[in-house]
Amino acid sequence: MKKITRCILSIAVLLFFATSCTDVLDQQAVDAFNQDVVFADINIVKAYIGKCYDRMGGNTNNGILGMREDLLSSATDQTLCIHRPANYVDLKGTMSPDQLGFYVNTGMGGYLRWTDLYANIQNLNTVIAGIDDVPVVTASEETLKARLKGEAYFIRAFMYSQLMFGHGGVVINKQPFGLQDDFSTLVRSSIEETKDAILEDIDEAITLLSGKTTDQGRATAGAAAALRSRVLLFCASKLTNGGYAAQATNPLVSFPAGSQTALLQAARDAAKGVMDGTYGTFSLAGSTADPVLPLTEAQVKSYAENYQKIFTQKGAWNSETIWGIQYPITGGNNNVCNRWNGPCGYHNWGNNNPTEPAVRSFEMADGTEFNWLAYNPGGDQFTARTATAAELAADPLKSPFNGREPRFYAIVLYHGAPWQARGDLPAYAETGHLYNNDGTLKSNGTDSRQGLIEAWNGTKTGYYLKKFMDPETAGQYYNNTNTWVEFRYAEILLNYAEACIELAVLGQAADLQNGLDALNLVRNRAGLPDRVTADPLVARDYLRHERAIEFFGEGHRWYDTRRWMIRDIVTTNVYGMKIKQYLNGNMEWKLDIEDKEDDRSWAGDHFYWLAIPRAEIQKAPQTIQNPGFN
């Protein structure tokens, strides 16, 4: 009997053990918040919007916005991406809805990625829909809430603008989607509706952000106004206003006939609003006084450094910076731009090499055009330039790299351009080769593709892109912490100048000088003399040249060459510059026709717009493809 009692007791204990535990299946996630929690605390919403910033530009893995391993600039005539050249499908003539390369690539540096941009739009829709109900107590929390909402509007406008710049009119949706929603009825809006949707968000952002102070790096009214200027200028351009003749009436990519003047005026006024200080006080960094020519060597250096510092700033931003993205030294998204672009002889990866035509397009210091054939009239671009040591001493301008405008020295690392110290090796980019006086090779350049250090990362064009590299960062070891400046005052001035000049081209002559004045501010800051002309078409050339140089490498060139529809002209093969430096100081510079480093070809007008990815059309068959693609 005793035994039985014990048994029963044991069973009771067991059952207690089995049932008394708290229910292990009813637990909260330990590594994530659920939606209710996020929208119950304004600080979590703030952190959530932090992530939305992170996703601007659509690739959190490899740099954000414009700073990535493969630059958008390499989709233009300015630079050559040596790591994945085939990815630039619009330059290669290989783009198709299936083959969007750089523009959908999930690997290195993909840009304008359709799904990622929309993913962030969904994030922003979620926060904009939910933020009003977030409980706040104090007045400062109330202010924070309004400000965060404004930031969300700004980022959403930015996302939609990227989609529009790439694809034209896109599917517009401003409510958060759920899994069970019906997507089959959603179609692309016209480019005009898309523009309006963007401007509406920008207006909201400006209203909510005006007069509010915020941490550097978060959106401001100025940033939203700058975006408005950029969006309107894009919409006012030839590409979207009948320039694309075959599709002039296609509302996905063209505005209604006759819209252009109004769009240009709106673009002009949007820029003017920023210039007038309505959204904060901005000014060009450095002096905008007329330079006294000729510049001394020290002055050239000073102008160059002033310009370069815009792109290497750390800590508090200068007056020119309207908005940008900052990068941490560890953790978070790593920007290693020195490593991406630096010379191979510094154990860097030598990507995004300036091309020879782009290098030649920099003016001389006195504002005259650089002429490769100045000493060899009658030749062509492949004609070698030579100079003996004595000739160079007598006329330094025989070297193509002497006497150029200051920005040249801030943007391009050419053979002989000073760069960081590296032990016994030359503290300059050595992209050329050393020859004995008898014409035999002595040694290959440390930073050339035949050098002794990681030569496979050597420049293919003979140049490296210096502009975004921080001279204080050893690229082989460290991340960059300099800011990527997305909006700067110089862009506002040149946007304004372009709108004015284009209005003058359309007959509003009164705007011409306003445009030239803004243009000349940018030139003067760079140490160059004023442009003077009464011919709007000449002014247009001046403006286009200035945008190319001022924004070199920043990516604007890709939009500009499309807006102006000049990609058929500027898309050319890329050749390598070969430099021989003899021991006795004699020099030879030669663009080598035997060394074709990149085949490029322009496939036709339909390439001015990116195709909608095939996968997207398969998922949403109601989506209309861009013209020219099947």
Partner: protein, 1059 residues
């Protein structure tokens, strides 16, 4: 420095020194035992033996029943003296040497050898021979005699894999278990767990070929224990449940279940067993790359063909070929400079067991390890393990038990991963210097990657230690009032602490200073040192803690009504898993002598952490019934609830039904088919589940992620999101499994033939709808229960067993498994091209699913004109087929790889021969068609060396009819794997290999009995010994790609001694 404690599992330098000595010592002792001792012993014994012949008497009884056994044969070993027991089991032998050994034999019983050791009365109990039908097979939550098993269950004993020189159990079972595919994807020490697929792949997986395909592994009833850490010597048996018999594991069982049971002590005097082996390893296949002259030739070919300037002139190539300028024109064999020909592996194990009156104990100590084949054996794996298993009966109705196991693992790696060392060795240029002619290390290709240096500790080390404690307390109550009833319970607490210290520092490479004057001594530039890799020493420390808790209470009831046998099991189980991680990081260490976290600089310090949880509750039931062992039936049931799913869809029911008919027991069978002496027909049907994927997908989850810098400082603000969208209906995947099969034996067990056919339907497979939900929805898609895959196949096992006289035993068996899956439904867009529809095809994973069909190489311009081609194609490029026939090559021409990216056919052939004291076991194992990338990284050409297979047969203007394309550079050409994926890079990796050979010699016990040793054997064994056939020979067919650490061929010598 702290004194290293001398305990068994310390990690001090003393131990690593001993590690080298210990195996060597043992080999010496062993040789001494087998050669020297016998000689000494016989020399000493002879005079005594002459004088001491005695009369021996005794009784022989049956060990189980205790009854006397008449007719038992007794032989004095090595003589003709013998006797037979009388009706009372008694015997007598005259004139026997005092030191002799008696051999007792009786049909149906295990024979026994007994050393007299001076005794004159020797009583012996014989144990009934266990035939394989009596073999106890572990099935889910129970054991069954093989004869009564109705499920599709294969099993092997621990003993059959103990001599295989492989540190992990998963690799040792390859080819031995029909229906289990074993693939060893790398040979890297510490990373040797093989991939196991039970009956192939019945699911579709995301991103990775084998995601969510592994079987559930249960060790001693507990989930979450590693079959690669368990000491093979501790394994009593290993079973694989392949059909509805796995249904008792419910929601985790759909990929099959592997059950491992560890040994327990047996009653008797303490018994000590020591086993060891010392192995020597060398790579099976080393992927070949081009030498300097070949590389320079091939690269020049490409450059000239593309109109680019050449990197190497003809003169350079001549220097590379002649080797006359080692400073300026080296010819480096990177792989050769990286590796040594032989490295080592070892295992030692000591067990003690015994017990009396129901109290038994089993204690085991183990040590095993592997060292890398780098010249400095930096990468190494070492494990110490201990296990104590005690059975403590309290009284007649209460029994308790305690099982505690501890594992200490140490994995050590240099700074660079195997990929960056071994893989980069195939990439580094042969025209670069591994070492300069003066012995200094040469430059890197990037990241400081000079493998001959990065394979050493020059860049610091990554020391990973896992401390694992597994404990189970169990009890069993058998209330005397109800016969056959037992109440059992077990609680397991498994704690794993993982500690990873990665202290890294810059290393020095030497570069030529081309601006300095030529060094007259070498005729080359002087060298200068440069620090590479890191700017300063840095330290990453990580602590992980995992706690697994399993509680199980159950009731079992056994009842026999006449010829009816009934067994019932009903239980409740709860499993929880909690994981936490803490990581700290600092850099700018002043010196690498003090490596604690606080010795680093405050600048750029960083920390992070992570946590996960999982829990499951289960109700488990089983009822088995048999009539005379002839008609067998089994019903299984499990109800599982998972933390991962919402309350409404959290619970799933998983039943299994199994029936068997032992037809050979029927009278008619015995009459008409007597040559089939055993035949059992089996059938089963069951439903099982799977709960893969992230938990809490039923909520909108906002995770934490990497931060952003705001403000003018450099501090990072943590960010939250982006959210994943909720799927409120998420629930289990379910698999319906049907199986029929038979087991048979012919001609009195001379042959056996087993056959199984199965059909699995996996439904509600969790997969995101990312092929049909438009990107503009912006949704981060959760898993949904949408896909369905059917998988069917068969297994055949055939064997031959013959004993010739008493000396020769022969066992030959072969198994063959086949499985083929078919996608019945998965999320895919509407496409017009039927060759791009996945439904109805075997599931094949590749990164973007579709690829061009490569059908050859354009031999010449005529070929280009014949075939549709891409605009930039030239002779020597890869021909893509215009599948759609529309006259251009577009993405519409892409097809699914119409090959199998998983072995569909898998086989093993085992030969087991015994001759007197020798046993030889040979296993040949192989797989059929298996397609995968014959490729490793795109940086070939200017940025990396070429593989020799490409060089040897490449297209050149002089070799136009070939199937290997022309020289290329990175992804510059349209047929590059990164630009347009095509079948060009895929090859068949079918193979057959001599997997294991074990030759064992039972050392006669007269040689060592005086030492108190009961039994001793020595063995020579080998693993991955030879590739008998390999469809593609560029790298080992089992490993992932030519850039991974190659598979190893192992030769070992070992011994097993029982005291």
């Amino acid at each position: 420095m702290k004194k290293t404690p001398s305990c068994f599992w310390s990690y001090g330098p003393n131990v690593s020194f001993r590690r080298f000595l210990l195996p060597a010592k043992i080999v010496v002792i062993l040789l001494f035992c087998s050669l020297a001792i016998p000689n000494l012993a016989t020399a000493a014994d002879y005079p005594a033996v002459e004088d001491q012949q005695v009369r021996i008497t005794g009784t022989v009884t049956d060990a189980t029943t205790g009854e006397a056994m008449p007719g038992v044969n007794i032989q004095v070993q090595g003589t003709s003296i013998g006797a037979i027991t009388d009706i009372d089991g008694k015997y007598a032998l005259e004139n026997v040497d005092r030191g002799a050994t008696l051999i007792f034999t009786f049909i149906g019983y295990d024979s026994q050898q007994v050393a007299l050791g001076g005794r004159v009365v020797v009583d012996v109990s014989l144990v009934q021979e266990v035939t394989d039908l009596d073999e106890v097979v572990v099935v889910g939550y129970a054991t069954q005699k093989r004869a009564n098993v109705v499920g599709s269950v294969t099993s092997i004993s621990g003993q059959s894999i103990q001599s295989i020189p492989s540190v992990s159990v998963s690799t040792a079972i390859a080819g031995r278990l029909p229906g289990s595919i074993v693939i060893q994807e790398t040979g890297e020490p510490g990373n040797l767990g093989a991939r196991i697929l039970v009956r192939g792949r019945s699911t579709i997986s995301r991103g990775e070929r084998y995601a969510n395909t592994g079987p559930l592994v249960i060790i001693d009833g507990v989930q979450g224990r590693s079959m690669d850490e368990i000491d093979p010597m501790d394994i009593a048996s290993l079973s694989v449940l392949k059909d509805a018999s796995a249904a008792i594991y419910g929601a985790s069982a759909a990929n099959g279940v592997i059950l491992i049971t560890t040994k327990s002590g047996a009653e008797g005097k303490p018994r000590l067993n020591y086993q060891f082996y010392q192995g020597f390893m060398t790579p099976t296949v080393v992927p070949e790359t081009t030498n300097a002259a070949e590389y320079a030739t091939m690269l020049s070919e490409y450059q000239v063909y593309q109109g680019k300037s050449r990197t190497y002139s003809d003169e350079d190539i001549a220097h590379f070929a002649s080797g006359d300028d080692p400073w300026g024109h080296p010819n480096t064999d990177w792989y050769g400079d990286l590796i040594k020909n032989w490295t080592t592996t070892y295992r030692h194990n000591l067990t003690i067991d015994g017990g009396s009156k129901g109290m038994t104990y089993y204690v085991s100590l183990g040590l095993k390890g592997d060292e890398s084949f780098y010249k400095q054996s930096t990468t190494s794996y070492k494990q110490y393990n201990v296990r104590a298993k005690i059975n403590l009966p309290i009284n007649s109705w209460l029994n308790t038990g305690l099982d505690i196991a501890g594992f200490l693992n140490n994995r050590i790696y240099p700074y660079k991963s195997a990929d960056a060392i071994v893989g980069q060795s195939t990439r580094l240029l042969p025209t670069q210097w591994s070492f300069w002619p003066n012995g200094l290390p040469g430059p890197d290709i990037e990241y400081g990657d000079n493998p001959v240096v990065t394979s050493t500790f020059a860049g610091g080390k990554n020391d990973q230690k896992t401390y694992r404690m597994q404990s189970t307390f169990n009890f069993s109550i058998t209330p005397p009032v109800i016969k056959g009833l037992a109440i059992n319970g077990a609680f397991s607490f498994d704690l794993t602490n993982y500690y990873n210290k990665a202290f890294y520092k810059p290393w020095t490479l030497y570069f030529p200073d081309k601006n300095a004057p030529i060094d007259p001594a070498t005729g080359y530039y002087p060298l200068y040192p440069s620090l590479r890799g890191l700017s300063s020493p840095e330290n990453n420390e990580r602590y992980d803690r995992t706690i697994n808790q399993t509680g199980n209470v159950n009731v079992t009831y056994t009842k026999k009504f006449g010829d009816h046998n009934l067994n019932i099991y009903a239980g409740y189980e709860q499993y929880t898993n909690n994981y936490n991680r803490l990581v700290g990081y600092r850099k700018y260490y002043i010196s690498d002598l003090i490596q604690t976290m606080d010795a680093g600089s405050d600048a750029e310090k960083n920390s992070s952490g992570y946590a996960t949880i999982y829990a499951r509750k289960s109700w488990i039931g089983r009822a088995t019934y048999d009539y005379k062992g002839k008609y067998l039936a089994e019903i299984l049931f499990r109800r599982d609830g998972s933390l991962k799913f919402p309350p409404e869809s959290r619970w799933g029911n998983f039943p299994g039904f199994l029936v068997g008919w032992r037809a050979s027991e029927e009278g008619f069978w015995k009459e008409s088919l007597p040559f089939i002496n055993y035949f059992k027909l089996r059938a089963s049907y069951g439903k099982m589940g799977m709960d893969p994927g992230d938990p809490f997908q039923y909520m909108n989850k906002f995770g934490l992620s990497s931060g952003m810098v705001f403000g003018t400082g450099t501090s990072i603000e943590t960010t939250v999101g982006p959210p994943s969208i909720a799927n409120p209906n998420i629930t289990w995947e379910t698999q319906t499994t049907k199986n029929v099969g038979f087991d048979s034996k012919f001609l009195n067990d001379l042959f056996h033939l087993n056959f199984e056919y199965f059909y699995n339907i996996r439904e509600d497979i969790l997969f995101p709808r990312d092929a049909t939900v438009p990107g503009f929805s912006g949704l981060s898609l959760p898993d949904e229960n949408i896909a369905r895959v059917d998988n069917q196949g068969f297994e055949i096992e055939l064997g031959f067993h013959k004993t010739l006289g008493s000396d020769v035993r022969l066992d030959l068996s072969a198994n063959f498994s086949h499985s083929r899956n078919k996608v019945v439904f998965m999320d895919e867009p509407e496409v017009l091209m039927p060759w791009q529809v996945r439904e109805g095809r075997p599931y094949v994973l590749n990164n973007d699913n579709l690829m061009y069909k490569a059908i050859g190489i354009y031999a010449d311009q005529a070929d280009l004109d014949t075939y549709v081609h891409l605009p930039n194609a030239k002779p020597g490029d890869v021909i893509f087929e215009d599948v759609s026939g529309d006259g251009e090559i577009t993405n519409d021409d892409r097809i699914f790889l119409d090959k199998f990216d998983m072995p569909e056919n898998y086989y093993g052939i085992t030969l087991d021969v015994g001759y007197k004291a020798f046993t030889l076991t040979v296993l040949v194992q192989g797989q059929g068609e298996f397609w995968k990338l014959n490729y490793y990284d795109n940086r070939r050409g200017e940025a990396g060396n070429y593989f020799k297979w490409h060089y040897d047969n490449r297209w050149t203007p002089d070799n136009i009819h070939t199937d290997v394309a022309r020289a290329y550079n990175r992804d510059d050409l349209y047929w590059s794997n990164d630009v347009r994926r095509s079948t060009y890079w895929y090859d068949n990796f079918a193979f057959a290999r001599l997997k294991n050979v074990v030759l064992t010699y039972n050392v006669p016990n007269r040689l060592y009995r005086s030492l108190g040793i009961q039994n001793a054997n020595v063995y020579f064994s080998g693993n991955n010994l030879a590739l008998l056939y390999s469809a593609t020979k560029t790298y080992d067919p089992e490993v992932n790609n030519p850039g991974v650490y190659p598979a190893m061929r192992t030769f070992a010598v070992g011994a097993n001694i029982t005291f």
